[in-house]
Every structure is written in structure tokens, then in C-alpha cells.
Symmetry: C2
Subunit: 145 residues, 2 copies
Amino acid sequence: MAQDLTIGALAKRAATKVQTIRFYEQEGLMPAPARTDGGQRRYAKAHADRLAFIRHARELGFPLDAIRELLHLVDKPDQPCARVDRVATDVLADVEAKITRLISLRGELQRMVRQCRHGRVAECRVIKVLADHSHSHCLSDDHGH
Amino acid sequence: MAQDLTIGALAKRAATKVQTIRFYEQEGLMPAPARTDGGQRRYAKAHADRLAFIRHARELGFPLDAIRELLHLVDKPDQPCARVDRVATDVLADVEAKITRLISLRGELQRMVRQCRHGRVAECRVIKVLADHSHSHCLSDDHGH
DNA sequence: CTTGAAGCTACAGCGACTGTAGCATGTAGG
DNA sequence: CCTACATGCTACAGTCGCTGTAGCTTCAAG
């Protein structure tokens, strides 16, 4: 077919690395493509669409396992989409938890940096805050992670 | 000395795993402690302080390399703390970048989940949004990461 | 002296790639 | 037709910060 892509051309289109595509194939996320007589991969449009799906999901924070599940579900279009919804909601909850935690980290870091008087290490607030054991429990609600 | 701690007791105090402490020693973050005749580690208070410092810095998102640098600086208290400030500011910038990105992800995920009509997979908005290539560039300002 | 918890070393595994070494293939120009 | 040379191939190591496991030894209490 005329519109077949080499792995390099596909990688450029999807803004991924060549190795990443081979990695997705190995992980069962991308189907094995046709090969030339010499053994090189040649991709059709369906592969490009699938790769775009995977990349978009990855950018949104979906782990590969979740993407694998979504790809299975795409092949069963008559089923109810409750599981799709579940996967997406789980990712959303994960993203929200990360935001909450990072905002609390940002607060503590900002306080630390703001208090630094740019003197010598001996009296540096940053070092003092890090060394101060009494601060360390204010974030520990998450250490089970 | 009477106040020496086994690795297990130290781990419990610092809310870490035993293996994590050995890992920090191997990485040069924790100094090698005294050993019993049988070869078991025995820790003094200085080790507990150092471990608390490391753990607190880790909770704040400092990578181990940054912590290594801070620990070196702690041993040179007469130097200006500009480098300490630099390390902390870098971590803060990193945290802020992550927050910005995650908030944009959250927005897209919320839209996706909200539009789901809980029908069949064939007409699922979540799947459609993920498959739609035209959405995939709205976050790509960060793909260099 | 025995038992059982806790310690020891060494190494594999996680997630999601990324990089490297050492070849083979494909294609464009001469 | 031949030669460069970019690109492709496989296989495997490395990234980060731990965590878990196997197979053994040591310690402290009873």
C-alpha cells in the first residue's frame, strides 16, 4: 500500500520516539504491523490512530494498564461504557490527589525559600526547616502513598 | 553506647523501611554506622537526625541528588547559602510546573467524565475524546518535559 | 540451649520509557 | 550497478527511588 509509514515517520507524526513505539508493541498496546522482506515495520493508518489514542491517554495521566483496558473496550462497542467511565474517574481522582499534595508542598517550599536571608549555610532557614523534625509530620498523612 | 539503635528501631522512628536506610547508605546519603561483632548496624543520634533530614527533604520533593548536595553543604557552614537557595528554588519551580500541568489535565478529564452519558462504548465521549487527534495538542506545550 | 524475630548480602522488579551496541536494510546519487 | 549513509533491527542496560525476595546469620529472651 502506498500510504504505509516507516516507524520513523510514524514516530514523527505522533511526536514519540521510535523506541517508544516498539515498546508499545512489545507491551501489547500496538498491534504488530506488516514487515518488509527485510524485516522492517510498515504501518497503516489504523496504527497511527491507535498510537494517537495511546499518546493522548498517556498525556492525560492514564497508566498503560488503564489504556490496555480501554483499548480492549473499544473493540466491544456494544457493551455499556461503565468501565470506561470508571477508568477515567480513577485517573481523575489520582490527578486530584496529586494536585492537593503538590499544593501543600508548594506552600512549605515557598515559606522556606522566602525566609532565606542569603547569609551563610550555618544560619540558612532552608537547612533549618529541613533538619527540623517537628515539621516532618505535617505532610505525613500521605506517606502510605 | 547505650542509646544505639538497631536498623529496625531507626526505621520505626523515621517511618521508613529498613531497606530504604540501607539503600541510602549504599547511595552515600547516610554514613556507614558502627557494627556489632556479628556485623549488624548500630546507629547513634547523629544518624537519626540525618535520616530525618533526608526524609523531610524527600517528602518535599527534593530528588536524592539535590539532597546529596544539601548534605555536603551542611558540612561547610561558613559558605554562603546561595547554592542551598538555588536547590530549593529549583525544587519549588519543579513543583509549580507539575501543579500547572496537573490542573490542565484535571480540566480535560473533568470535561471528559462529565460528558459521558453512560450509554454504550460505541458512543462514549471518553473514548471519543481520547481518540480525537485534534485534542491532543492542547497539552503538547509540555511534551519536551 | 533453643527459639523466633530481626539482621545480613545480593539481586530482581516496579513504571514508562530512553539510550546504546552492533549489525542489517533501504534509498538516492553518481 | 555501486556506494554512502540514514534509518531500521534486536537485545539489553540504565533511569529514579525505592520495595520485595531468597537464603543465610545473629541477637536477645526464656
